[in-house]
């Protein structure tokens, strides 16, 4: 177990450091932040002053080694724009995005598993056909388009839900959460729905395929020969086997939602990490972009680790002690 954890951490550290270096260099190549930060009428002398303040007057390699040196001490630098530590900026935005991701994923699971199970068990029925056609639609419609359509329908036409922003929050243990207030929930619903549609379509198809495969297994026939009720066969024998692939995919998708909430957060002007990333790229705010991507890679590593743990709990054949890679 310990060996497994150490190996996992090692792999994770490698991924994070390679990525940080690449992004650092790429951001350097994109443009000079001073041009964006300085007022349009600034003189060259003023620009030089700003560059010196931010350490941007030094050659690339010097900047890079300063960055690495600081990063090794846990200091990911300060934002050029906000002049605040980048990690702090990101962590301030984390709860909003986390909340959005969890809500979206919960919706996707609540929609995807029952529909997929039904479509797998009764694949010939007309309702299953509708579900499957719907899932193709859910796959192919772009996220921003779904978001805008939802806004048009529910905010502009029906005026039921707000079109953007984050609602009222309450502090729980110092973390501002919005899903506990009515206003917050109303703000959360549309962006979460937007993000969940693709995931729900994915889960429907995955669960359906797994169900169709599982019902043909000999142990399902044996379960029927034992005289078990249909309910028990579906909810225990079939569902538990299906959860194996589903958990893996849900884990990966959770990471993906966190990392790529960018589009949805922009459409809904939702103040999460994704919005921060877009703004920072526009301002060439290199420290924030680099720190953001490092942080996201770190989240991926953690999520994969948790998925492995859950997998080991639900599949008795998997043992982390002898896990290979």
């Amino acid at each position: 177990m310990l060996v497994y954890i150490i190996r996992r951490l090692g792999q994770g550290a490698l991924v994070v450091s390679v990525m940080a270096s690449v992004v650092f260099l790429a951001m350097y190549a994109v443009g000079n932040p001073v041009d964006v930060l300085a007022p349009p009428d600034a003189s060259d002398a003023e620009k030089l002053l700003i560059a010196r303040e931010l350490g941007l007057d030094k050659p690339l390699w010097d900047q890079f080694f300063v960055f690495i040196g600081n990063a090794l001490h846990g200091d990911l630098g300060k934002s050029f724009v906000y002049n605040e530590p980048t990690l702090q900026l990101i962590l301030q935005r984390l709860p909003a995005t986390l909340e959005l991701a969890v809500t979206a994923l919960t919706l996707a699971i609540a929609i995807g598993i029952p529909l997929g199970l039904y479509a797998g068990l009764k694949s010939e029925s007309w309702f299953s056909r509708i579900v499957m056609s719907g899932s193709i639609l859910g796959f192919s419609l772009p996220n921003f388009w779904i978001g805008m359509m939802l806004i048009l329908l529910f905010s502009v036409q029906l005026k039921w839900l707000p079109a953007g922003g984050r609602g009222e929050t309450v502090n729980i243990l110092g973390v501002p959460l919005s899903f506990l207030t009515w206003d917050g929930l109303r703000h959360l619903l549309l962006p979460a729905l937007t993000m969940s549609i693709y995931k729900a379509a994915l889960i429907v198809r995955l669960v359906r395929a797994a169900t169709r495969e599982t019902v043909m297994q000999e142990y399902v026939r044996f379960a029927r020969a034992k005289g078990l009720s249909r309910q028990r066969i579906v909810l225990v024998h079939i569902l538990k086997n299906i959860m194996l692939p589903v958990v893996t995919v849900i884990g990966l998708e959770f990471g993906a939602i966190l990392a790529f909430a960018v589009v949805t957060e922009s459409v809904f002007a939702y103040p999460g990490m994704g919005k921060l990333l877009i703004d920072s790229i526009n301002h060439l705010d290199r420290p924030v972009v680099v720190a953001y991507l490092m942080f996201t890679a770190f989240l991926f590593v953690i999520i994969n680790f948790v998925v492995d743990l859950i997998y080991a709990v639900i599949d008795p054949r998997v043992s982390l002690v002898e896990a290979k890679g």
């Binding site: 000999e218 026939r221 225990v236």
Partner: protein
């Protein structure tokens, strides 16, 4: 002896792209209390489908086209799912061929045993556990208390089949249908399990339908044997009679193709030709293309005829060393 199971004129069809396949076509037999019936035939002859039809476990595109299955005096064909469910696992049980896949890989053995008990009886979890434990002990599983907490992958193939047998025995059914349960196991384990099942069935008077393609298993286990070919019953009788004096050319071919010690060295006589596909059965007797006795009359379908010793055969030219005809 009263019949526990009476199957008559059972037919199961599958609607496929090639048309309607008659996987089982007019099969009749009966099994009495404590009796062991061996159901033999090459792969694809309809043995498993017959067993599943008796249990009411035929799924689409399969369908019971006609016939009757009387179990403990009660007609099962046309009974609703709930009635059948309450019989399955309680009065009639079935075990399957591949022990590696009959147990659910993600559920513990205790879960899979206790659910079987509680599907049919209102008993406490504790009482059910005790019964599950005893059942494991009865089929020869060492330290059953510990083994209850294990998962299927922690058992060998032979042990898993014992667990399946223990599950089948939980409610003391009057009929067990065993579909080639020892085929996937090695010979020693197979012999052990056969003799244990024989003892257990004899103790409780459970009737057994033992499906196999292996005549040596039939010889050591069964009282009577029924031979199937292309979905039809072609011969039936007491094991000793049928194995020593087969009436049907197909049965004779099967017996001659069994490797045996006293014939070691001499080449095995294989039945010429191949098992026919159900989609294109020959007209008349289905065995005709492979039969050395075939004549003109075999272009018509032979019926099942009675012979001395309660034997039945479906052939126009049964072996004549035994005064046939009825």
């Amino acid at each position: 002896m009263s019949a526990v199971l009476e199957v008559s004129d059972l037919a199961v069809t599958f609607g496929t792209r090639d048309g309607l396949l008659k996987a089982v076509d007019g099969v009749s037999f009966s099994v009495s209390r404590g009796e062991v019936l061996g159901l033999v035939g090459e792969s694809g002859s309809g043995k498993s489908i017959t067993g599943l039809a008796i249990m009411g476990l035929i799924d689409a595109p399969g369908r019971i086209a006609r016939g009757s299955v009387k179990f403990e005096g009660q007609e099962l064909i046309g009974k609703n799912e709930n009635t059948l469910r309450s019989l399955r696992g309680r009065r009639m049980a079935m075990i399957f061929q591949d022990p590696m896949s009959t147990l659910n890989p993600v559920l513990r053995i205790d879960t899979q045993m206790i659910e079987t008990i509680r599907a049919h009886e209102k008993v406490s979890e504790k009482a059910a556990r005790a019964r599950a434990r005893d059942a494991l002990a009865k089929v020869g599983i060492p330290s059953p208390d510990e083994r209850l907490l294990a998962y299927p992958h922690q058992f060998s193939g032979g042990m898993r089949q014992r667990v399946a047998i223990a599950i089948a025995l939980l409610h003391g059914p009057s009929l067990i249908i065993a579909d080639e349960p020892t085929t996937a196991l090695d010979v020693t384990i197979q012999a052990q399990i056969l003799s244990e099942v024989q003892t257990l069935a004899a103790e409780t008077g459970t009737a057994l339908v033992w499906i196999t393609h292996d005549l040596s298993v039939v010889a050591s286990l069964a009282d009577r044997v029924a031979v199937m070919y292309a979905g039809r019953l072609v011969e039936e009788g007491q094991v000793a009679d049928v194995l020593t004096q087969p009436l049907h050319p197909y049965t004779k071919g099967l017996i001659e193709s069994v490797p045996s010690r006293n014939r070691r060295g001499s080449p095995l006589a294989q039945i010429p030709g191949m098992t026919p596909s159900l989609a294109c059965l020959p007209e008349g007797c289905a065995f005709r293309p492979r039969c050395s006795r075939a004549t003109e009359i075999c272009l018509e379908a032979p019926g099942l005829t009675q012979h001395v010793g309660g034997r039945r055969v479906r052939c126009f030219h049964p072996s004549s060393n035994l005064g046939g005809g009825a």
